[in-house]
Amino acid sequence: MTDNWLLSLDGVAVGYGRHAVLRNIGFRLERGSFTGLLGANGSGKSTLIKSIIGVIPPLSGKIVFTPRDGREPVLGYVPQREGLDAIFLFSSHEVVLMGCCGRVGPGRSYGRDDRDWAQRCLESAGAGDLSGRRFSELSGGQKQRVLIARALAAKPDLLILDEPTAGIDAAASRAIMELLGRIHRERQMTILMVNHDLAAMRKYIQHVLWLHEGKLTQGNADELLTRDKLEEMLKLQFS
């Protein structure tokens, strides 16, 4: 059954320089699963995500992606939108086109197929009408939709999102979660989402990874997100 694992972490320590933020982290992501990575601010969620996508090499341990049909999984990454500088004058369509960059070789321009695909991704993220608008001038929720469309444009096997609902109002947050739920349902996409907004994500996720004081608690959402378990974990969080 190992073929069904898309990502496996074994004894992983991550951090900056020689300072480990998390030690001995191990979990597996099954293909087609929707997993929430939870934890308080500063618990190391984003650092772990950056190690998974390859930005920060792990200090120790193994991060392994399982190839299928001899092909390494493609990642679709949705970063925290505040990290993207408003000085760039990109339209939303140009931002989404970047998702095609992995398939278009150096020195080659995007073709008509790539442009059409980017537009289709925008439409499937409910942002087709934002195509010509400047990305930096969009609202938080609109930007998030465009960034999800960009990740989809990569034709990913694993969608990784870093706090997609942070800093946006409740209605936009619900709409984003609804969109992710639909993508997961319709495309059987494997999704790993960092969030600290439990209320927004609990209806959609199947598995939970909970980071607290450098330790990982994991399990099915139905088991871990019960009232008793949550009280126990939140007590841990605030103790």
Partner: protein, 297 residues
């Protein structure tokens, strides 16, 4: 118009200077677009100064017989080697230190600027050939440009412009969202290195041709003017290059007509255009805000 016709005539005595000005006016703004986008404007100040120091160091080493004697005709190459070596070495050191994430970036760039300026002067003062055209180069006097210098500048800038055009997609991706580029398995370090080599080459050759002040002026001001007026990234790059070329040509005409030094005239003209663009942008913003306030009938 008469002046323009005169300086564009094929038999114009200072035609190489005109060509050099136009090449700098085209290429530096295209590179400057990346310095502005990556918020590395201070690097644009420091690198021309470092490049000047490299030229001064190369001539000093030559004067003190530390490097072998070169013919007068090869002095341009000597200056190019000194300028490029020190500029690229400085970029490499900055990149390594930034990657390690230690210290203040602004502090390093500021220190490089002031130290390079001080060493340029010290090396020139103690160089018996210091007055031999070197001071003119560093002051931005674009007067007599040998054919060999023009060919070197045109060749180098040609490579830079073609590379910026060819790899525009990759340079933009790693500049806009480095993490996304890594997740797409792009060689981010490699693309960053190539971009900085292109920046370094442009700066070192431009300093050799027109001096540090003019180089910095053309790296920064056309890109800032274009950013005020452009709506898209394509417009940003095209407008920056157009402003650079037009200013270089107009600056040369003004300098020739009123017998002024070309480099400072170019930069002063760019400063005037920056002010005008700022006022225009404000006026356009007020007008569009006013139009939005008109109640719908």
């Amino acid at each position: 118009m008469e002046t323009l016709r005169e300086i564009l005539a094929p038999d114009f005595l200072l035609r190489n200077s005109v060509y050099i000005s136009l090449l700098v006016g085209l290429t530096c703004p295209l590179v400057g677009v990346y310095l502005v986008l990556r918020r590395l404007v201070f690097l644009g100040v420091a690198l021309p100064q470092v490049s000047s120091c490299g030229i001064a160091a190369a001539f000093a080493l030559h004067a003190w017989h530390i490097i072998p004697h070169v013919e007068e005709s090869s002095e341009g190459l000597l200056a190019f080697a000194g300028s490029t070596t020190l500029t690229l070495a400085t970029i490499l050191v900055f990149a390594v230190m930034e990657r390690r994430g230690r210290g203040l970036v602004e502090g390093r760039i500021g220190a490089a600027y002031v130290l390079a300026g001080a060493w340029s002067i010290l090396l020139l003062v103690k160089n018996p050939f210091g007055e031999h055209g070197l001071l003119d180069r560093l002051k931005g006097e674009i007067i007599a440009v040998p054919n060999a210098d023009l060919a070197l500048t045109a060749g180098t800038f040609g490579v830079v412009v073609v590379a910026l055009f060819l790899f525009h997609k990759e340079f933009m991706l790693v500049s806009f969202d480095r993490d996304m580029a890594v997740s797409l398995k792009k060689n981010v370090l490699g693309w960053d290195a190539l971009l900085f080599v292109l920046i370094g080459l442009t700066v070192s050759v431009s300093v050799l041709s027109v001096g540090p002040m003019v180089t910095f002026g053309f790296l920064l001001l056309p890109a800032l003017i274009a950013h005020l007026l452009a709506n898209t990234m394509r417009q940003f790059a095209v407008l920056a290059a157009m402003v650079g070329v037009a200013s270089a040509l107009a600056g040369f005409c003004i300098a020739y007509r009123w017998d002024l030094p070309v480099g400072p005239t170019d930069v002063a003209l760019l400063g005037f255009l920056y002010g005008a663009a700022f006022v225009l942008k404000k006026a356009l913003s007020r007008r569009s805000a006013g139009a939005a306030d008109v109640p719908a009938v």
